[in-house]
């Protein structure tokens, strides 16, 4: 279980997180929605330790995320980055098997490659993609490779940062379905950041809406449409008018 308690983070004069409280039960899929620049990515990066919060607690299975063995902590996570964040200089299979080729999860090269090809197949890519460089792939294929890399070491917790941004609607649907299938079949805890409402409905067990540095509303995805929360309703229906100020 992931629990964030009263987490704050500022960049200079800009207060991004103003006391964020969030709980993600083990084995569930939480989707965080909110407008651009509301701190969704900052919240996610705080859990991973990529950004240090100014105050507050972040607990993973009751233990402080900032203490203890950092390698062991990170080995429990997989992450799909918004732009893929694939390593340009490495072929696809080495990207996927990156964690399996070094560090405490190191395997023999042939075995790591076999696992990489298997994970690529799981995300719908054929083995001939394995030896290509990331630059030779389309955006959708890069996203799939990123997904394969995120699940390569069978993590307990998977983070997805805007998994469908920049993809066409059909490819977005494919990625959403893949994420849902993989999370269910691995029994993983998932945390996804998006402002794509189709993704929310496809991926989420629970939804949290982040606005003005705090969680404005949270609950099961089934309750989202009847929440009665004006912020959430404005966001879901994409209205320019409402409590969330839109810059025109």
């Amino acid at each position: 279980m992931i629990r964030m308690e009263n987490v704050t983070k500022s960049f200079g004069q800009k207060h991004v997180l103003r006391g964020l409280d969030l709980e993600i039960p083990r084995g569930t899929s939480m989707v965080i929605i909110g407008g651009s620049g509301t701190g969704k990515s900052v919240a996610l990066k705080c859990v991973l330790g990529l950004i240090q919060p100014d105050s507050g607690k972040i607990l993973v299975d009751g233990k402080d995320a900032r203490g203890g063995d950092r390698d062991a902590f990170l080995a429990r996570f997989g992450m799909l980055f918004q732009g893929g964040a694939l390593f340009d200089s490495l072929p696809v299979w080495q990207n996927v098997a990156f964690r399996l080729l070094r560090g405490r999860l190191k395997r023999p090269q042939a075995e790591a490659r076999e696992i990489a090809v298997d994970k690529l197949r799981r995300v719908g890519l054929t083995p001939d993609v394995a030896d290509l460089l990331p630059a030779e792939l389309s955006g959708g294929m890069q996203k799939r490779v990123g997904l394969a890399r995120a699940i390569a070491a069978d993590p307990e917790i998977i983070f997805f940062d805007e998994p469908t941004t920049g993809l066409d609607p059909i490819m977005s649907g494919v990625i959403n379905d893949l994420i849902r299938e993989i999370v269910v079949e691995m029994g993983a805890t998932a945390m996804t950041i998006t402002h794509d409402m189709t993704s929310v409905r496809a991926i989420a067990d629970n939804v949290a809406m982040l606005h003005d540095g705090v969680i404005q509303w949270t609950g099961p995805v089934a309750d989202m449409d009847a929440s009665g929360d004006p912020y959430l309703e404005q966001f879901i229906h994409g209205r320019a008018e409402g409590p969330i100020e839109a810059v025109r």
Binding site: G49, M79, A85, G103
Partner: protein, 260 residues
């Protein structure tokens, strides 16, 4: 206000300079500590050795060749004003080995290697590849910085040594072909004149310049701002800082070796 504003600017600049010096020093200490602590990444080190050492050889060699040739012409022209043309082999040798060889190689490494390292690491930062490394339990200081700094420390002295030889060969070619020097006498004068300390100082400067070049590329790449502008600024700042630090270090090291 008009009187105080230059003082304010001076104060801000001084604080900025001191803070930057502190950050770079801490970064350098961290980088060196990672060279000695596992895990090590031999494949990354090999790639860095090839990129920084082997692939820089043509540009360093060409620079040294032309510099040595021009030096021979200048010394001959200057020396002839007081009937001292005969000193060409000795001055080319000492000028290349003690000063121009390491400095020209250092500046060319700053242009070629520092810019390339800064642009590569800054792009990795902007595209979240550095964050991805961290989430994959890989320390970017160990994986990206330590191999590049170590490779520069090992290969730039070799490049400087080769550059020195090519520079002397450039001077030799000009002196023998155009200025009428006796080939055997030229080489004999060169060998007789150079002392071990000249060569040691040349290689020591190479090691220092190599570390500066790689370290500045890594530091400014890791500290890059967002977007294309961030990458561009990181690259520009890295090359400017490396070039100035190389020239400053050259002055300091020359002073040290001069006093020996």
């Amino acid at each position: 206000m008009i009187i105080l504003s230059p003082l304010g600017w001076l104060g801000r600049s001084t604080l900025y300079f001191l803070a930057a010096t502190g950050r770079i020093t801490l970064f350098a200490l961290q980088a060196f500590s990672h060279i000695f602590r596992p895990p090590w990444y031999p494949r990354e080190l090999f790639n860095a050795l090839m990129q920084i050492g082997w692939l820089s050889l043509p540009v360093v060699g060409m620079t040294a060749l032309f510099t040595g040739g021009a030096l021979a012409l200048q010394i001959y022209s200057g020396g002839s004003r007081f009937n001292a043309e005969a000193v060409v082999p000795q001055i080319v040798a000492i000028g290349m080995v003690r000063e121009l060889g390491p400095v020209m190689a250092g500046l060319m490494i700053a242009a070629r290697v520092t810019s390339s390292i800064a642009a590569e690491i800054a792009t990795m930062k902007v595209t979240e590849q550095i964050d991805a490394l961290v989430t994959l339990s890989t320390d970017p200081m160990k994986y990206l910085v330590a191999p590049r700094v170590l490779a520069a420390l090992l290969t730039v002295p070799v490049l400087v040594g080769v550059g020195d030889i090519i520079g002397i060969a450039g001077g030799y070619t000009v002196a023998v072909q155009s200025l009428g020097f006796n080939p055997a006498a030229y080489l004999q004068n060169t060998v007789d004149f150079l002392e071990p300390l000249d060569i040691i100082s040349s290689l020591a400067k190479g090691a220092a310049f190599g570390v500066i070049a790689a370290m500045m590329g890594c530091y400014f790449g890791m500290a890059s701002g967002r977007g294309a502008m961030g990458v561009g600024r990181a690259t520009k700042d890295s090359v400017e800082t490396a070039a100035v630090l190389i020239l400053a270090a050259n002055f300091a090291l020359t002073g040290v070796f001069f006093s020996l």
